[in-house]
């Protein structure tokens, strides 16, 4: 109902009296001011001059942050994941790397509205594999209540290089690595002579369109997001640069990343992880610990968090819980946690930077998109919620079908007419 309306125009906006968090890793400041104009941040901080004539909101000490960005999700690709008609995350298709999620993100999906209501304004959206180790091209989206969700289409290629990739590659890690190398080699063949590329014979691992899609990956023009969890798989992924030096890698998962943190840091590869994994839930996660994030950050790795453990189409709002728990570790003897500001960074500017969008979104620094949230309490506490959300400077509705259900059933008994008449 909101999303079909004509998008509101971004107005100038000033928020004063905020407990202000910039999202760049710095700690929150008291009595901060945010100035938004033409959909972008003009200034944010303490002692910022308030321009005359702008619409001003006094936050009254409430928390103000940049919008939350999920470093990994499949939001907008599924309405009800278990209902296959609504689920576009993966396909048994003749195509793989060429698959592109951007045209099919559904901005009207209820999980988008529910996530927006929780202060999530941007998300990385990845496809899931169906026919081989390559899943296709993911996008970065905004969660605004309009019909234009795409921030950056074809933002990265997604490949499975852990246990899931092994399964797609026929059953062994050795086959998986060889498959990866041969596919990229064939993409190089395609790049050299597209017209004569053999995409149809039995020797071809990639049809023409998939080979074409991997050309920017081999050249480093498009980031390659690699899902790998175990320390050994992570090193194997980093080693792929020996054959393909231009690869612009992003590690997803990396539950055992802390074990090889110096190598990841030296390779300057950003990590997007789940944060809270601490069980040997599979043999590729034997060394799981919630201190993974803290140890990686300490080693100099840029770390983001996202929904890498399921519910990736629905629960993007868990980002604040992930981040809050990283702060909790500061009080646990022997654990490595994050400061509050660092924790917020993992769900705001860090994912933006991992996607190569650090100059456009992710923090309240001048020139960035006007994605702002006012919260009724500390945003990393589970008792808190947004009271106002802006995306690109446009104020967003905070109603969704869950709030409507809540209101309808505020009292469970029926009145003079059935519940169906209460709307």
């Amino acid at each position: 109902m909101f999303a079909t309306a004509t998008p509101a125009l971004a107005q100038s906006l000033v928020i004063t009296g905020a407990t202000l968090a910039i999202g760049d890793g710095s700690e929150p400041i008291r009595n901060g001011t945010v100035v938004i104009s033409a959909g972008k941040v003009v200034a944010a901080g303490a002692g910022v001059a308030v321009p005359a004539g702008a619409k001003t909101i006094d936050a009254g000490g409430k928390w103000v942050t940049p919008g939350i960005m999920s470093g990994f999700s499949r939001v907008g690709l599924a309405e009800v994941p278990a209902v296959k008609e609504t689920n576009d995350t993966s396909a048994r298709s003749p195509f793989s790397a060429a698959i592109d999620v951007a045209p099919v993100i559904n901005p009207l999906a209820n999980p988008i509205a529910i996530s927006r209501t929780a202060g999530v304004t941007r998300a990385v959206v990845a496809p899931a594999t169906g026919t081989n180790i390559f899943a296709g091209q993911g996008a970065v989206i905004d969660l605004g209540a309009d019909m234009s969700p795409i921030t950056r289409p074809r933002a990265f290629q997604y490949v499975e290089m852990g246990e899931a990739g092994v399964e797609e590659a026929g059953g062994s890690r050795a086959a998986m690595i060889l498959t990866f190398k041969m596919m990229l080699t064939q993409a190089q063949d395609y790049a050299k002579a597209p017209a004569s590329y053999d995409g149809r014979s039995k020797d071809a691992l990639l049809n023409r369109v998939d080979a074409q899609a991997l050309v920017p990956v081999v050249s480093g023009a498009m980031p390659l997001m690699v899902h790998a969890e175990s320390a050994r798989d992570i090193l194997a992924v980093l080693a792929l640069r020996q054959d393909f030096p231009a690869l612009k890698l992003i590690l997803a998962g990396a539950t055992e990343g802390w074990m090889v943190a110096p190598q990841i840091a030296a390779a300057r590869v950003p990590v997007i992880t789940a944060g809270l994994e601490d069980l040997p839930s599979s043999f590729e996660k034997l060394a799981a610990t919630q201190s993974n994030v803290g140890r990686l950050v300490k080693a100099g790795v840029s770390v983001s968090m996202g929904m890498l453990t399921g519910d990736d189409a629905l629960q993007l709002r868990a980002a604040t819980q992930q981040a809050g728990n990283m702060v909790a570790l500061l009080k646990v003897p022997g654990a490595t946690g994050l400061s509050w500001g660092q924790a917020l960074r993992t769900i705001t500017s860090a994912p933006a930077e991992a996607m190569g969008l650090g100059d456009r979104i992710g923090s309240l620094t001048p020139g960035k998109a006007g994605d702002v949230v006012i919260w009724d309490g500390d945003p990393l506490e589970m008792t808190s919620a947004p009271v106002a959300v802006w995306i690109d400077g446009v104020q967003q509705p905070l109603e969704n079908r869950q709030t409507r259900l809540r209101d309808r059933y505020a009292t469970p008994t029926e009145g003079a007419l059935p519940k169906a008449y209460e709307w």
Binding site: V80, P280, F283, L380, Y409
Partner: protein
Amino acid sequence: MRQQGRALLIAALLAGLAGPAVARRDKEDAPAAQQGSSAEPENPYPSTYKPYPGRPTAIRGATIFDGEGGRIDNGVVFLSEGKVTAIGGPDTPIPADIAVFDGTGKYVTPGVIDIHSHLGDYPSPGVEANSDGNEATSAVTPHVWAEHSIWPQDAGFSRALANGGVTSLQILPGSANLFGGRSVTLKNVPARTMQGMKFPGAPYGLKMACGENPKRVYGSKGREPSTRMGNMAVNRQTWIKAREYEKKRAAGKDQTRDLGMETLADVLEGKILVHNHCYRADEMANVIDMSKEFGYKVAAFHHAVEAYKIADLLRDNGICAALWGDWYGFKMEAYDGIKENIPLVHRAGACAIVHSDDQDGIQRLNQEAAKALGAGRRMGINISDEVAWTWLAINPARAMGIADQTGSLKVGKMADVVLWNGNPFSTYSRPEKVWIDGALLYDSANPKLRPVVDFELGQIGAGDVK
């Protein structure tokens, strides 16, 4: 998540579940089995759990949530011989020669109780060889007992202890079947055997499942049930058989022992508690009618994402709702999940419980409760922290039939206690120490008081802070 501002009312509603009518199947001096060929052994897999040694301990200066809705600021809890010996304000007398912990700025609660877990029967690592939660070969398997699947070496138990403060939990068989089998309640202590964890005297539960899972699992095999009406029909046919079996057994008549029927007969006699996986409001209403048709009682609906739509019905029938904080939408019957489910159920005067059904969620049930608490307060349902803690303590204990032994900090109850390093509804708080029956089994400051199960031993990451 649910609530419990109305402890007395709920106690009255649940008296039939938790009272003396519940069989204490683990007592070694239980009466001999009745005669006849249907005679069954009273307690063939008895608990061997013994409390671990503790020492007289007091925590002083903390804020106490007693688990039944009470709060004591600057309180004292005194534990000795495995029990809560005293609880009260700062002047509560404690002996001079005991261990005293300063709880200033910290919080004390009874141990968290998870009414819905698959630790042990779906353990880590989650490989096919370990997948023992669903006997998905028939929609009716009341003859299986979850305890016979449990692998005590699941590292999930230790994480639930260290990060979640979980001291007791019910392990259920999975939800593929209409009648999934018997549950078992465990104390959350490391042990070599399931029996070494088994909660002494806890009644068994029967796992039942509504809705999509049974019809999907069997419908896809071309077998009954493939619809919700099929679910109900198979349920009713099974209860008809169970009634006949129970009648013969009660009369001492000869019949061949039938493990499944023994379980169902015990349900009909009120000895086994029904834990019914059921999402939708309309389906819960069907089950309530069915329970009346056959003369049994549902202790709790689990996963009841639509409980808020029929909170009055749950209240009027004395049925608890075991709920997630914010899960929704992953399947059709979860589509109407809302964050206010728990507070709405609570406010209606029904019994609300926070449950996990998840190896990760069980580590953060306090945070799941906080999500619901905050959502409720925003819609004007002002539930205090101490009352909200009933969702994690006395309410699940009552629905599991163990409230006379644990679930709150009352003199004489098991000393199952968590000292939190801050308000436990804060994301920033974690258990600092956890006692089970008065034994200190987790201490965040002592790496040696961090369990490492056999599976982890000698593996990378063993003994690491998790």
